[in-house]
Symmetry: C2
Subunit: 319 residues, 2 copies
């Protein structure tokens, strides 16, 4: 029953069975990033007087990515980074990650690379991998639950009139890469990088929370759609001047406002020191608008003073 | 943008978008069992000085069930109950559930029934539904993360020589139903019920922990396989007298020991008052063997005194 990857007693203790052979391969790829895997459930300690924050996020082949677009390592990295971004959106600190993998029978060779990508994203956010599930299935699926802690999580419902709207980093790269992939062409490297290797803005989120951000969301559906979520949850009117959007080279604001899966942060806050933010994190923080009223819940957009309807982005590329 | 199921301000606050329309249908089906859904992540408070316990569990059409075998409500119930059973295995108390649903485009009509089944299992365990994710996909998939708390979670690694091995309820029904489904016949009602509507043994698990159970697992792969996991994790030898297995009518011990997805509890404990257990919970608690040695990790089985190799059950029905 022995196999080559049973390197240490913790792996040995997983016991026999085909599913456990796969788990042993994952654990071997994760190394010290995997902690306590093998029981029915993982155990986590939440700091006293802090909330646990939890989110689940699925990445499916054919829905969120195509295998032709990304390497297995990138697929793993991107799925884990997208999940971790939900912890950033709440200004929380990662505690652990649970990974449910569904693999086609003809894809076993990819497991180590997938695991390495997941492990890379987890390590970049100091997030141990504490458990999981694996099964065969009709498409490659990574469903990742992230757990974090925060003394005062930042929700979507705290935006108030008089606050300004800020977004981190630059927008449009992920959407432009997706458009190129869907056309069958090769995205420019900067756009592809944004699509394939999004960076969860965890430290940035805590800075924003410490400096007064009271409503926050990560840009997963596109600024147009995500701002509408923020406005709806907070019950306020928000106005964005689209010409202020920090667009990547080669993308205009009309496309950038619809670009999803950017994993930048969008927040409502008092006036912030954007220069200090940039010095601290090496990315921009841009004021793109303001919260104007509390008597109506709506997000409106202007371009050089003209009111425009940007649309609502896409649910996923397949619609 | 309004639709009929936006019944209250909490649903309204979800904002626009196709995915949110699906979430609104789920939230409407769950009613008061859904709490706080709609932010980037859910917030949970863990009791002071207790551990958080977390597990993720995937149920896929074609791997864990076929749609022809179960109603949508049963599919939802069974997936959630299977996940909750992992909290029982750790003797923990549910705090919340995150539900990732992947649906085929031609299955939207099933969503309410699926959600009702998930909600029924959650309600039966006093477990609020605190978040989720939804997407289309090539098969119906329910990936459920359960969160619980326990002052002293019972793990797999605490079995010690001199302890006895106990199992709750009766075994073999789930496997017999699966065999019937795979043959294309109709399972007898008692077997089908065990397959379609497993009951997470949460209260029973806490009783067992309070009475000294120091290693525990839920029977998901079959007693033969799960006992091997327990023995491997604890580093002990376990011996089971198969004729003692509490089998359902129509199933012999040789089949019952391989029957998976039973979601009964298997534990190592000092001698227990099985009559008191039965009076308290209305199901049996049966001593099936003992922990014999600590110098070797193995599970061995006898039938009427003869050593037998039961095999290792199945990973899933499809291999």
């Amino acid at each position: 029953m022995r196999d080559a990857v049973r390197a240490d007693p913790a792996e040995e203790a997983l016991g026999p069975g085909r599913e456990f052979d796969l788990i042993r391969r994952l654990v071997a790829a994760w190394g010290s990033r995997a902690q306590g895997i093998g029981d029915d459930a993982a155990m986590v300690s939440v700091p006293p007087n802090e909330h646990l924050v939890a989110s689940i996020d699925a990445s499916l082949e054919g829905v969120h990515f195509e295998r032709a677009w990304l390497s297995p390592r990138e697929i793993g990295y991107r799925a884990a980074a997208a999940a971790l971004s939900d912890l950033a959106a709440m200004a929380s600190t990662p505690l652990g990650m649970l990974v449910a993998l569904s693999l086609r029978d003809d894809q076993p060779a990819d497991v180590t690379s997938l695991a390495e990508g997941i492990g890379e994203a987890a390590a970049s956010c100091d997030c141990p991998i504490i458990g999981g599930d694996s099964t065969r299935g009709p498409c490659l699926t990574l469903t990742i639950t992230v757990l974090g802690h925060a003394a005062r999580p930042v929700r979507r419902d705290g935006a108030r009139p008089g606050q300004l709207l800020y977004v981190t980093g630059t927008l449009g790269g992920s959407g432009a890469a997706l458009e190129a992939f869907l056309r069958g062409t090769t995205p420019v490297p900067a756009h592809r990088e944004k699509f394939a290797r999004p960076i969860p803005r965890l430290r940035e989120a805590r800075w924003l929370a410490e400096h007064g951000a009271s409503a926050m969301i990560d840009v997963s559906d596109g600024v147009a759609s995500d701002l509408a979520h923020l406005a709806a949850a907070s019950g306020v009117a928000m106005e964005v001047a689209m010409e202020r959007l920090p667009c990547v080279t080669g993308v205009d604001p009309v496309r950038a406002v619809l670009s999803g899966e950017e994993y930048e942060l969008l927040c409502a806050a008092p006036p912030l020191d954007t220069a200090e933010f940039s010095r601290s994190f090496g990315i921009s923080l841009t004021c793109i608008g303001s919260v104007t009223r509390a008597d109506i819940a709506a997000a409106t957009f202007t371009l050089h003073g003209e009111r425009v309807d940007p649309g609502l982005g896409y649910d996923h590329f397949s619609r």
